[in-house]
């Protein structure tokens, strides 16, 4: 059961082979046993999990069936969850018990999922290693001395270690896809506007997008069917008919045009990553897909564009943390302005402060045109590169990350070195495009490699279909991390 997919668990629940309460107890025991080593969860809530599971069992007993009814789930601690600590990985919100539910939390609850708890993350989703969390870093189940990636590192580690069959995350510059790649699980960053941002704590609002983690592309499709949809409370939520994200799982790969951007196959990619991705390219060619060379000439500017736009938006979004209505307030202060300055200095960590200061600078008088406006213009050039590429191909393939999981502390002293981890994941969100990461092999050290598939707006079903076909013929996504064998937490 621990290694089963969501699709398999739903079948077992539907046939009454196991109850949701039994499933919740199984995953809770494992989560509690493994969390001391992995630190993947900030909050584990057995009472909530068992209450949700009992409610799901009652719905099943009354004859109701659903693809997520009774399935254990964890939310990234960025999603406001009523009555539960919602810290966003920050000291600033370490006392914040949310009075309301995020749109995603509501939707997943309606689908009948069982909430086990909230997962660890880089503070305010700013980071690529989970090391900026106020709650300490989550660790990679493939090697506990290495990072799980970030910012949704806790969700990725939890799914990889089989603490939960599925989890939610958010992606601004790669925060779903990069940790999925580094932990050997699947993660989807949907088209901007398809998953509600209501109650999802804001980092960079023109980029932030929620999405699922799971063990297979099929599971991501099932999760997306519940997660995505119009929400009047999010002004950027797109009003479109609901779609079935599983409709293309049997897509015919013959004749599918797969673009290989030369910018994603150049220097700076670790040999183990290159080898695994090249192998996946050959698999798609053998399956009948046609590979075509495409160019994204402005993609090299994506990281600099991102580190203007995202901090600018963050400096504005995070100005709400003033120690007045919620969050941390300093114990001592001279006056109101001093209270703001001290509360924010104490409540935010180093990386968050750094991005707020950068954002404040690039928006300040005299620098706005040179930095912020110029970055928005180059952002359009990047989006235009993709639009041109879609004339020649149906999807774009490349590595998710230039390297595999790195040791804790390896990039801590140099923010720019850390930022360059996201060189292949930042372009898609700048253009609002969906991106999928699925496991495609291992490097010489036995660490998982992620394959990224990107498509035009609203092409999620095609990306998931291509991923599903690949996973029917390969078993990289079913491999278990060596540090968390299946018997841990059993027999309790």
């Amino acid at each position: 059961m621990l290694n089963a997919t969501v699709a398999q668990l739903a079948r077992a629940l539907g046939r009454r082979e196991i109850s949701s309460v039994e499933l919740a107890r199984l995953f809770l025991a494992r989560t509690q046993a493994l969390n001391a080593g992995l630190n993947a969860f900030i909050t584990i809530d057995p009472d909530r999990a068992l209450a949700d599971a009992r409610a799901a069992d009652a719905r099943i007993a009354s004859g109701e069936r659903g693809p997520l009814l009774g399935i254990p789930l964890a939310h990234k601690d960025i999603f406001c969850t009523r009555g539960m600590l919602t810290s966003c990985g920050s000291r600033m919100l370490s006392n914040f018990v949310s009075p309301y539910d995020a749109g995603v939390v509501e939707r997943m609850a309606r689908a009948g999922t069982v909430l086990l708890g909230k997962t660890n993350m880089d503070e305010f989703a700013m980071g690529s290693s989970n090391e900026s969390s106020w709650y300490g870093p989550a660790r990679n189940p493939w090697d506990l001395a290495r990072v799980p990636g970030g910012s949704s590192g806790g969700s990725a580690a939890a799914v990889a270690a089989r603490m939960v069959p599925a989890a939610t995350g958010t992606d601004t510059g790669g925060s779903i896809r990069q940790p999925a790649a580094l932990t050997g699980v699947c993660g989807l960053k949907p088209t901007y506007g398809t998953v509600s941002r209501y109650g999802m704590i804001a980092y960079a609002s023109s980029l932030d997008q929620g999405g699922p983690f799971g063990k297979s592309a099929e599971d991501l499709a099932i999760l997306m069917n519940a997660m995505a949809g119009f929400d009047t409370r999010d002004s950027t939520s797109l009003e479109r008919p609901d779609e079935d994200y599983a409709r293309s799982l049997d897509v015919n790969l013959a004749g599918l045009r797969i673009g290989l951007p030369e910018e994603f196959f150049g220097e700076g990619i670790e040999p183990g990553v290159r080898r695994a991705v090249d192998e996946a390219v050959r698999w798609f060619e053998k399956a009948g897909a046609k590979t075509v060379r495409v160019r994204l000439p402005n993609a090299r500017l994506a990281v600099p564009v991102y580190y203007v736009i995202a901090p600018a938006e963050a400096s504005s979004n995070l100005s709400r943390y003033d120690g007045v209505r919620y969050g941390h307030r300093a114990a001592e202060y001279a006056d109101l302005a001093d209270m703001y300055r001290r509360s924010r200095a104490e409540g935010f960590g180093r990386e968050v402060k750094r991005r707020i200061l950068i954002g404040t600078y690039v928006l300040s008088h005299g620098y706005y045109d040179a930095y912020y406006l110029q970055a928005q213009k180059v952002r359009r050039l990047i989006a235009q590169d993709f639009a041109e590429a879609w004339r020649h191909c149906d999807l774009i393939l490349g590595p998710t990350s230039p390297g595999t999981a790195f040791p804790l502390g390896a990039n801590s002293d140099d923010p720019v070195k850390m930022y360059l981890n996201d060189i292949f994941t930042i372009p898609a969100p700048l253009a609002g495009l969906p991106g999928l990461s699925i496991p495609c092999g291992f490097d010489e050290a036995g660490l998982p490699v992620g394959l990224q598939l990107m498509g035009d707006h609203f092409s999620e079903a095609l990306l998931l279909g291509a991923g599903h076909r690949y996973q029917q013929d390969t078993d990289w996504h079913l491999r278990m991390p060596r540090e968390t064998p299946l018997d841990t937490g059993a027999g309790k």
Partner: protein
């Protein structure tokens, strides 16, 4: 373009974040590292390129919605004030700003 100690003090003041004197050197160095990264943008020719403010504005026709200006949320003042650092009589308390 490189920042000075005075710049850091000015930015920190605008951002309402205290930076202890002992930390300004390190903050300055790291901010300059990041600005060195983004300075590459200044050399790009963007003549005639419209700024892109929104992830989907490249697609056109996807303007943000407006809704009627009507109250839609229920009054949950007590629940919201329960998470505030200091409240009294339904009001949020802050240090005195008028003498």
């Amino acid at each position: 373009m490189s920042l000075s100690h005075d710049d850091v003090a000015r930015i920190a003041r605008l951002a309402r974040i205290d930076i202890p004197a002992a930390e300004t050197g390190e903050v300055l160095q790291q901010l300059n590292r990041v600005l060195g990264l983004v300075d590459e943008l200044r050399a790009v020719d963007t003549t005639g390129v419209e700024p892109m403010a929104h992830a989907l504005d490249a697609r056109g026709g996807m303007a943000q919605r407006l809704r009627p200006d009507e109250a839609t949320e229920p009054d949950r003042r007590e629940a919201y004030q329960a998470v505030a650092p200091e409240v009294a009589d339904g009001l949020y308390l802050v240090p005195r700003v008028l003498e």
